[in-house]
Symmetry: C2
Subunit: 324 residues, 2 copies
DNA sequence: CCATCTAGGTCGGATCCTGGCCTAGATCGC
DNA sequence: GCGATCTAGGCCAGGATCCGACCTAGATGG
């Protein structure tokens, strides 16, 4: 333990100790912090005054611990925990659903800003290991670059990057980032392209070599009020999606449960079948989800999905024929 | 903003402000914290002395921001970010791979300990929404209960719960938790059953109504040195698993990449095929992963997987036949 | 009923903290 | 190049805070 000379440093260490899921007797805390038990009691008081609910169980074998309160206390993580959170957020952000993607992204950007570099390497390694497991998306976005972009948005910093547009041509861009928007299962950066003097939308998974320039610029006004609307209007030109229509031999309630969030539309047909309307961007993802439902189903559209199902079905049957 | 009377409270707020991915001019910080700019400079100094690397850009339009340093600073999260992290950790823990499961679990336990209850509800809601999306596992474990168990392990607290054993019988248990072990894709609790006076292993997904008793007991010694070894020896009686053997028409390198972490064993056969040896606990999971590889393959074992592939293949082909 | 823990009042002396004022150095825009 | 604007940090004096020591009260478990 360090000197713990100042009360501030002591409060921080105290918070860190109390976050461990165990009880600390005052005497042990005093020992660890290098102060008298009386001072520990006063520090506990201070924490309580700051809004952190330190619980104490009285009597012999009593002790202090931090309980759930009204506000989030500062989280004091050790190295491994920090890495675990970074990895978890990365996969969450790379496979966004839910409706808290913006918050996940903010949290990731915040964490990456202060993550020591030696930990950063470990995060990268784990990310590489886990990412390919969830190979649902054809081109999963790099969470690190996403975080860099998010930081640039939040800091109003000019951003430089290489972009590969839909037709394959590569360009260098210098933009003023405005917002990151999740649409479908992809992230888009809405930004003002300073070289082309116009608003542009970039698919984040097509951006590489992001370099925050550090140059802060006053936020520019959008031509339209809602960034998300602006994006969705232009988005479909960038992201070819498939509209699915299928009949599932499964009660609508169960189908909703198994499909989880963002299932698209489900309409009940009768007590044990329903119709699914949805949209997705890769056939593999669609086919896999439908097959994982574990029920009979019929696909009506799109024709590409019908073809893909035939391919997958044939492949499964061939795989099931034992050959030496 | 609050009073910020004491330097400790001020330092915490300052840390929170500096974690935002933007630059803060000293004057604005002074304003927000309700102190003079000189004091802000001193506070910044204090933070630096505590080991938090506050970066400053000089000149006009300069400012302060928190950079990556040697140690993790305390993370100050707003409500949404806290929820996002909790959700991300939950799915990471419920679908464990990687090799940082223990750390993820610790982080989740730490977070849940201090998470305000109103946020806890939101986490539960998001969890329910996202969980069913990744319905790979037959009985996904409840991350919240896992966190409770982890806290009991760390705090040496007796734990009470209801258990449904493999044969379907239900019992109430009172145990002294010793360790949580991840084996295969399942979590097991190694604990001393105080009523049966012996060490037992419980599948966490079969535990319900966990109640930490708050009773702290001195840690008991394991009969064998390594808990993980003890578990793995007994585990296979609890978890029926399938041993897979298959030939993939894919170069070994590519297969490893697409399979990601824990692919089992891959042995290269020739330049564009390889043999896979692995183990998994559900056929659906296995079949889906193999089909997602996007290459031809032949399954040799187990026979159950052959049967399941035939079922899935037939179903896919039936689904691809348009019917009114 | 006693040991052990939290809770908290009081006091004096040492320490620290603050704001004001100063100079120095870096950087950017004009 | 020059001035504006920012960080950096020394110095000082008055006041607030903090600390340990010592005390009593209350809760709890063996």
């Amino acid at each position: 333990m360090d000197a713990m000379s100042t009360p501030s440093a002591r409060l921080l260490s105290l918070l860190s100790l109390l976050q461990t899921p165990r009880e600390w007797p005052g005497s042990e805390l005093a020992d660890r912090l290098g102060v008298s038990p009386r001072t520990v009691r006063r520090d506990v008081d201070r924490l309580r005054e700051l809004g952190y609910p330190v619980e104490a169980s009285m009597g012999a074998a009593g002790g202090y611990r931090l309980a759930a309160g009204k506000a989030m206390p500062p989280l004091l993580l050790d190295d491994e925990e920090a890495v675990a959170i970074a990895v978890a957020l990365s996969t969450a952000v790379g496979k966004p659903v839910s409706g808290i993607e913006q918050a996940s992204l903010r949290a990731l950007a915040k964490l990456e800003q202060v993550l020591p570099s030696r930990l950063r390497h470990r995060v990268g390694a784990f990310r590489a290991a886990t990412e390919s497991l969830f190979t649902e998306s054809a081109t999963p976005v790099d969470p690190h670059e996403l975080a860099v972009a998010a930081a640039a948005v939040a800091g109003h910093e000019r951003l430089r990057f290489a972009y590969q547009s839909g037709d394959g041509s590569r360009t260098r861009r210098l933009v003023e980032p405005h917002r990151l928007v999740l649409a479908g299962r992809r992230w888009y950066l809405l930004a003002y392209d300073t070289e082309r003097d116009d608003w542009r939308i970039f698919r984040v998974d097509r951006m590489t070599r992001l370099q925050p320039t550090g140059v802060r610029v006053p936020p520019r006004e959008l031509p339209e009020k809602d960034a998300a609307a602006f994006v969705t209007r232009r988005m479909y030109s960038l992201a070819p999606t498939y509209e699915v229509r299928a009949t599932l031999r499964l009660p609508a309630a169960q189908a909703a449960e198994r499909l989880g969030a963002a299932p698209g539309e489900l309409r009940s047909i009768d007590e044990n079948s329903c119709e699914l309307h949805g949209r997705a961007d890769t056939l593999e993802w669609l086919a896999s989800r439908l097959l994982m439902l574990g029920c009979e189903f019929q696909v009506h559209e799109p024709p590409e999905l019908l073809a893909h199902l035939r391919v997958v079905g044939d492949r499964a049957l061939r795989a099931a024929v034992p050959r030496p």
